[in-house]
């Protein structure tokens, strides 16, 4: 059995390891909500008729994961959010389980901020892919 001293040493080692490797599954430095800026953002998917796509049913994941994927694509595309939006829609089209053609689905990025004590939201639309922009047929 580990002595108390060794338990503390194990904890210290894990903290140092996770702070060093940052995100290396299964270790993490747990950066979520480590700051509270005045602005937050989320994404959603919508069909050609403007209705939102239920991300859970259509993709087997959640809106938060889709936003993280979008940010990964933005990093990969050197900050080009338009190209990142299309790359993400391409990635999602491969696992799309919704009824509509995934090439008609748009990605909407929404910024939420506080202006003079009131909550304000602003949207940016990416996509749709269009028939020529899907590398693998769904």
């Amino acid at each position: 059995m580990l002595s108390l001293r060794h338990r503390f040493l194990l904890l210290l080692a894990l903290v140092l390891l996770s702070q060093t490797v940052r995100e290396w599954y299964p270790f993490s430095h747990y950066p979520m909500y480590s700051g509270f800026p005045e602005q937050a953002n989320y994404v959603y998917l919508r069909k050609a008729d403007g209705d939102p796509v239920p991300i859970g049913r259509a993709l087997g994941t959640d809106g938060s994961a889709v936003k993280k994927m979008f940010r990964s694509h933005v990093r990969q595309q050197d900050g080009d959010s338009s190209a990142a939006g299309l790359a993400l829609l391409e990635q999602l089209a491969l696992r799309y389980r919704g009824k509509e053609d995934p090439r008609t689905v748009e990605l909407v990025w929404v910024d939420v901020t506080v202006v003079q004590g009131a909550l304000v939201q602003r949207s940016t639309v990416h996509g749709p892919l269009g028939p020529a922009q899907l590398l693998v047929e769904p």
Binding site: M1, L2, L4, R7, F8, L10, L11, L14, V15, S18, Q19, E23, W24, Y25, P26, F27, S28, H29, Y30, P31, M32, Y33, S34, G35, F36, P37, E38, A40, N41, Y42, V43, Y44, P52, V53, P54, I55, G56, G60, T61, D62, G63, S64, A65, V66, K67, K68, M69, R71, S72, H73, Q76, Q91, L94, R95, V110, V112, T113, V114, L119, Q121
Partner: protein
């Protein structure tokens, strides 16, 4: 226990009620919250993380069934204490592969990593028990319960350090800006399920926070305190219970206000940091008025 208040022989031989229940509950969590059931069906590994940065894991995709069967068999072996070290090795390795694939989709989540770390800890302690020549379930349980609280505490201490490193004490003083995060998380949850009530609820909570900024700062300060000092939970089962309940309550408050449910963490906190099975059996034993349930030694 039978009507006479004694423990059946089979459970005594398996290490006692506390040992069997802890093992069973851990196995249930490894079933319910494992990425194994979906990971190997994913189509690609677009953003390699962890092991996927070193080894190409794409050849594993599309072969879900053998991994699921092996994982289930490993868990069964672990629960029945049949070749427990080997069984847990299979579970831990498959959990590592599955978690790595899921975390390599460009969306790193933080709800389940610790489950895999604990699976490896369980493997290590079972191996340790085997090497020391004492494979008795109660001995392996004592080893695990000396290691697992340190793993649970690490999660919260490192999370607090990251917060202080990123924001300093602004994490508390700017805490009222959590209002925009509340709108974000409720909107995100709405677009996941299209449950219409979520948008209205998110706006109501966010506006309440903006109207009562000091209360939200006070709550966040309490959460940060619990995370930063979670290492004190290693001092004993009583300390462990205090921090486990405090952190679990914080998770529930965050879940209710932000739709961020760290359910795996809540159960793992109660099981491993709070020694929940030990305290529950002790309370039950107290209610039964005696020494009907032999408890594991610390």
């Amino acid at each position: 226990m039978n009507s006479a208040g004694t423990v059946p022989k089979a459970i005594s031989q398996a290490g006692g009620v506390e040992v069997v229940l802890t093992r069973l509950l851990f196995a249930v969590l490894l079933v319910l919250y494992s990425p194994v059931w979906s990971a190997f069906d994913l189509p690609s590994i677009p953003f390699p993380n962890g092991l996927a940065k070193v080894f190409p894991l794409e050849p594993l995709l599309g072969h879900a069934l053998p991994f699921k069967v092996l994982y289930a068999a490993g868990l069964l072996g672990f629960v029945l204490h049949w070749r427990p070290a080997l069984s847990m090795a299979v579970v831990a390795l498959i959990a590592l592969l599955a978690g790595t694939i899921v975390q390599s989709q460009g969306a790193i989540g933080h709800g389940g990593q610790v489950l895999t770390v604990l699976a490896f800890a369980q493997w290590a302690t079972l191996l340790w028990a085997k090497r020391s020549g004492n494979e008795a379930p109660a001995h392996a349980h004592r080893l695990m319960m000396s290691v697992a609280p340190a793993i649970m505490a690490y999660v919260y201490v490192t999370s607090a350090i990251t917060k202080l490193d990123t924001s300093g004490l602004d994490w508390v003083s700017h805490g009222h800006f959590i209002a925009v995060q509340v709108v974000k998380s409720h909107s995100s949850a709405y677009y996941t399920s299209l449950d219409a009530g979520l948008l209205e609820r998110g706006n109501a909570i966010a506006n309440w926070i903006l109207a009562h900024p000091d209360l939200s700062r006070l709550m966040l300060a309490g959460g940060l305190f619990l995370e930063l000092f979670a290492f004190l939970a290693l001092l004993g089962r009583g300390w462990g219970l205090f921090f486990a309940i405090g952190l679990a309550a914080f998770h529930v408050a965050v879940g209710l206000s932000m739709q961020l449910w760290f359910t795996t963490h809540v159960w793992l906190l109660l099981l491993f940091l709070g020694h929940g099975v030990h305290w529950s059996l002790r309370a039950l034993d107290h209610l039964r008025g005696g020494n009907a349930i032999p408890l594991a030694q610390p």
